[in-house]
Symmetry: C2
Subunit: 416 residues, 2 copies
């Protein structure tokens, strides 16, 4: 149908025209005014306390203590069960969050502005690896780190960004793709490029060289630092693609650890959900698939814009990390995702594939037709609250979301 | 001959056992006590003023003004012609230098220690791209930058390195190979990893945040910053491989812009030379091959240890930069160099080639037998003094060096 092709071309045009720039870091409440006391934004489609998985419940307990809403984790859990907290998806407030994806009023969020369309998107700062809140960690070490991000690193980044014109992300990601990153499970290059971009201004605006040294060491020591920036970028790119009548392109994929949800441009902000799947991957020493929580997080916004599993061909080294077979086979993931997308990104190319653009614009019709669900590179959380990351792997988006979405979409364009 | 195989295995063992660490930055005169007034170390095998190419003469003129030995460039040239300066190869003083490779007493040198063998090697700090002394530049802008490297960046790096245990380079290069660097014409990743490694300590030891910001910005803005570190590393790795009786492995390849010279383990410190060749490559806008100086610099120490042209398969993006054909063909360079080397480096591997180790240990017998000369990725200088870099390309080491070396080597092992 020409109406659908035209709508999808317009959606693709908006994706490719995006100009995402990291512009500031500010407390969440300052940029999301609706974010008030005892309100918690989480990853994925809407969910209530009872249906939340272990790590998300663990993160809720931890963030309630962090925000001073509960004196300890147990009280926090009881309060949550009694309905003391209001839960909403990040996606409903221009935000995204990795894994459990907790966003609350006092946390600093990085702000990515899409300069072509004027919209902004938000994501908290990446905490590093291991026992961290996004993987369900909630002890003193985790909360202390969050306080340092709030009090030291967040303000330092905000000051540095405010001193210049922001950090343009489109070209930074283009470089990252030529340096082995796919921006979901491998962000070594982009994290380094971010440090290159920010460190001079961080030095110029520093009050205290010891705090500065700690801030630089934190960014330098966190190979996944860029993930959260990539996510805010993904949200900033996709938000202007929402609500194009007749477009069958996916505008968001997201999971809360219980449900996987997608949104499609032509069907507005409706979530189409199905139970999340279990990643297949590799586990850190001492853990097995028995410890694993199913798939979780807003980070699939990265695949939605053609990176992550879609850009695996750029990142042969990640194939081994996520247990996806031989490094030389990484290109196959990218080529396969080309079968469910409507275009390629001419500015985000993969040198080893002779500058093939990353597959861009997931068409739910192609997904259902081919039976090829989007392939996602993901971290794996322990299923119990309070433990943290136990591995990394590859997971498929559940086909159920796409079938449901296609039904509703077909009705919307009058071909049911 | 078993004697030769054994000697080459010992040479290879020493190469692979090396543990190069960037440990300090100090004025050259402090670490090379022989380096006195009016003495100039240069790239390549020995050469006198009359036979020096244009850019090397230009660099000599510039460094003489920089060191205060001459009031202006013209006087410096006259003094050089009258024999006022003493010229020696960097290689004779544990040093290496890119392109023209000027090393003089007041310049800061980076010190790489090979912790396995206890030896040290030196290289000046990379000046950035464009009009710089290593490409024959010698005006005020060039000399001002050298003064800043001497007065600000060198001491800042030295202090930062002194505050810790140095920057281990073996693992850093291993990461760089998984991030698209070959460490000769592409050092984007390793330069970033160096900034990651040094910036926290640079902040911790900074006196002045403005100077610090400038220092970080200089490193962050120079994609070739790591080249000079890679070169000092190469020299530190290869020096303990010198003088192994019966070994036919190359211990140094180097060019002064007029002659290409190699040294072979079993024949000691003799240089075997032949006229340098002209790189085939791509030129910056406004320049053509008519402007180009032939091949120059000590940087071929990088190919001597299995990187640069030998590791092209790790760096598909560099293929286009040096005009070496399709990105997907980069692996062929690495595979071909495997035919003239005696081993692979199990710690320096290329993910896209399913973790093939870089080809290591150039055997002059294999070079002469196969007719395959080592393939080198190189920058191209303008042939006139004072201009700078005009392009980048690929060049072959001249076969004449290897044939001569093989003759002498054969005599030394009694099979002439």
């Amino acid at each position: 149908m020409k109406q659908i092709e035209d709508a999808n071309q317009e959606a693709l045009r908006r994706m490719l025209a995006a100009d995402p720039v990291l512009v500031d870091v500010l407390p969440a409440a300052q940029v999301i005014p609706e974010l008030t006391d005892r309100m918690i934004l989480h990853a994925g489609p809407p969910i209530d306390w009872e249906r939340m998985c272990g790590p998300m419940q663990g993160a809720v307990m931890g963030i309630a203590v962090f925000e001073g809403w509960a004196p300890d984790l147990e009280t926090a859990a009881n309060m949550a069960a009694e309905g003391a907290f209001e839960f909403h998806p990040n996606h409903h407030f221009d935000a995204v969050g990795p894994m459990t994806g907790m966003t609350t009023l006092s946390q600093p969020v990085m702000i990515v502005e899409n300069r072509t369309f004027g919209n902004r998107a938000y994501c908290t700062i990446n905490e590093g690896l291991g026992k961290v809140m996004r993987f369900g960690g909630n002890d003193d070490e985790v909360l202390k780190r969050l306080a340092w991000l709030r009090d030291v690193l967040g303000p330092a980044m905000g000051k540095a960004l405010g001193a210049g014109d922001g950090l343009p992300l489109k070209s930074l990601v283009a470089r990252g793709l030529s340096m082995g990153d796919e921006m979901h499970q491998r962000n070594v290059a982009c994290s380094g490029l971010t440090l290159r971009g920010l460190s001079p201004a961080m030095a110029e605006t520093a009050n205290d060289t010891h705090d500065l040294a700690e801030a630089l060491a934190f960014v330098a020591g966190n190979d996944q630092f860029f993930l959260n920036i990539a996510m805010a970028m993904g949200k900033a790119i996709m938000d202007p693609v929402r609500g194009i009548e007749g477009s069958s392109l996916v505008t968001a994929m997201s999971r809360n650890g219980t449900d996987f949800g997608i949104r499609v441009s032509g069907t507005g902000d409706t979530w189409f959900t199905a139970p999340v799947e279990m990643p297949e991957g590799l586990y850190f020493p001492g853990f097995t698939e028995k410890d694993a929580n199913p798939d979780m997080g807003d980070s699939t916004i990265v695949e939605t814009i053609g990176l992550g599993g879609f850009a695996m061909g750029a990142a042969p080294a990640v194939a081994g990390f996520v247990g996806a077979g031989a490094a030389s086979g990484a290109a196959n993931f990218t080529r396969t995702m080309g079968e469910i997308t409507v275009g390629e990104n001419p500015e985000w190319t993969i040198p080893a594939l002779d500058y093939l653009g990353v597959p861009t614009g997931i068409d739910i019709r192609l997904v259902v037709e081919t039976g090829l669900a989007p392939s996602i590179n993901t971290g794996i959380a322990h299923k119990e609250p309070g433990v943290g990351q136990v591995g990394a792997g590859v997971v498929r988006a559940p086909m159920g979301c796409f079938r449901q979405a296609l039904e509703t979409f077909a009705e919307s364009v009058g071909v049911s």
